[in-house]
Amino acid sequence: MADYILQVRNLCKSFGAVQASANLSFSVERRNIHALIGPNGAGKTTIVNQLSGELEQDSGSILFNSVDISSYPVYRRVAAGLGRSFQITSVFDNLSVAENMALAILAGDGHNYRFWNHACNAASVKRELAAALSRVDLIDKADRSAGALSHGEKRQLEVGMALVGKPELLMLDEPMAGLGAGGTVELMKLIRQLKGQMTILLVEHDMDVVFALADRISVIVYGACIASGSPEEIRGNPEVQQAYLGEN
């Protein structure tokens, strides 16, 4: 039997008459890059928000490492090993790049009720900050205000911050959105490097990116998973072509 890190079972969530997820089930194998694709409005971001705990499901369950986490608040899911980046980049604009990264490092390093020593003098920050910033090419901009970064740089910072927590499962919500061609190539390189170290759940619009990176693909239509399989299987699936690829 395959080693599943994430199993979503019969997840339902509706906003009034709109069903954002309709009896949704799919499973993600450990150390895979698993892509969620689907036409616009298929409810992909809503699914990510349910997985991360920002939205509560109406029914159904989410198993992470075989533990039911569906009633956990956001921070407990993060502590359990579920990291994410946002579709619309979300960093701390009021802090410097280094402080952003330091926060991410400190988040995984015990409690923060320490009132006297400078945050950047914490042992874990001293140890990891430089490497964490270098990994996403931001070491030169450490003292810059994060609010002043370009869109691509913010995205790099955000992915870098998600990596610091060493999540077992990293959810990337449309990471390529708004990036130019150069930025996309850079980020694809980074995601490939991460493969093998962690599982990645990739929500992405750009089909070239998805087919270049993913090991498995699940197709979401109207909040339900209509097919799961390898890129070849998905490419050959008539239902998928009809519902989604057929449009192109």
Partner: protein
């Protein structure tokens, strides 16, 4: 909050100059005979303490509290009630005797204020934004009416103290000594808070103020940090209240009135939000402006109001920001 080297140098100069000024003021005032300046500046220092504690909430914690006067009032009432019970020899709630020993009263004022901040904060922090402002205001007004209803402790008329607290080795009744004790408290609080805002706790706090959603997805329960911040701010205001009760030798519900909360907020913004030292300057300018305008016209509020609006509209970082050349 990223400072260029030149602005942090200017800040150092400004803070040093301010510290020297406050340290030397009583000496100069005694020498020139303007003794009233000592009590005026004692007031400035005490309000500065309260304003700095509010700046911690607003400028760093992102918690726009319009009920900060409640904690000033609680500090004042703890001082007043303990004093009365000590004076009359009647045990409080039939359990403890009152006291006028500052080493007991002041820490107690701080603790009780922090305790109230814990309760009010944990209720208010269930909300955010506009709700939070109105709710902190409403809770403060509730305590105001509670104080008005405290017939045993003077009700509406307030509670006179017949002398200041006693502090072993010092005579707080002496305005000069009291001035330096207040200055010491302010300096201590400023040192503690400036360490705090750059500590791990402070980093989380500033992060939560800027982007709460992101803090939560980092796995940090940000609201709890804000609650602790709310308590620390309340504690600082409690100390200010105890000092204010000592200075005026009088405690009344007006200490808790919401206009006091508003004035503290004005001091913070006037001086410079999120700068800790700025609110000290803000308190000084506000109280002196009030004093000076009142010399020329009894309708000074008609001038102060528009001045405030202009400051809000045109001076984003307050006086401290203008003087240190801080920019975003």
């Amino acid at each position: 909050m990223i400072e260029s080297p030149s602005s942090s140098k200017k800040k150092l100069i400004l803070v040093t100059a301010g510290a020297l000024f406050l340290a030397a003021l009583p000496v100069a005032a005694t020498w020139s005979g303007d003794v009233y300046l000592i009590s005026l500046f004692t007031r400035v220092i005490i309000y500065a303490l309260a304003a700095v504690s509010l700046d911690l909430l607003i400028g760093y914690g992102g918690l726009i509290s319009l009920g900060h006067a409640a904690f000033v009032g609680i500090g004042g009432y703890v001082t007043g009630i303990l004093y009365v019970h000590g004076f009359e020899g009647e045990p409080l709630l039939g359990l403890f005797g009152g006291t006028d020993n500052a080493l007991v009263v002041w820490p107690l004022a701080v603790l009780v204020a922090a305790g109230f901040a814990l309760v009010i904060g944990s209720l208010s922090l269930r909300t955010s934004g506009m709700h939070f402002i109105m709710i902190t205001l409403a809770f403060a007004q509730m305590l105001y009416y509670f104080a008005v209803g405290l017939e045993k402790y003077g009700g509406d008329d307030g509670l006179p103290l017949y002398s200041r607290n006693s502090l072993p080795g010092l005579d707080l009744g002496d305005d000069l000594q009291f001035y330096y004790v207040c200055l010491f408290c302010l300096a201590l609080f400023l040192i503690l808070t400036s360490r705090l805002v750059s500590s791990r706790f402070g980093l989380v706090l500033r992060g939560a103020a800027g982007n709460m959603r992101r803090i939560l997805t980092l796995g940090i329960p940000g609201r709890r940090y804000q609650l602790v911040c709310f308590m620390i701010g309340g504690a600082g205001a409690g100390l200010a209240g105890a000092l204010l009760a000592n200075q005026t030798e009088y405690v009344s519900p007006t200490l808790l009135h919401w206009t006091v909360s508003g004035e503290l907020m004005v001091m913070v913004l006037l001086g410079g939000l999120g700068s800790l030292f700025g609110p000290v300057l803000g308190a000084a300018v506000y109280l002196l402006l009030e004093e000076i305008l009142a010399m020329y016209t009894e309708h000074w509020m008609a001038y102060l109001g528009p001045i405030l609006i202009l400051v809000v509209l045109f001076a984003k970082h307050g006086l401290f920001g203008v003087l240190t050349g801080r920019e975003d």
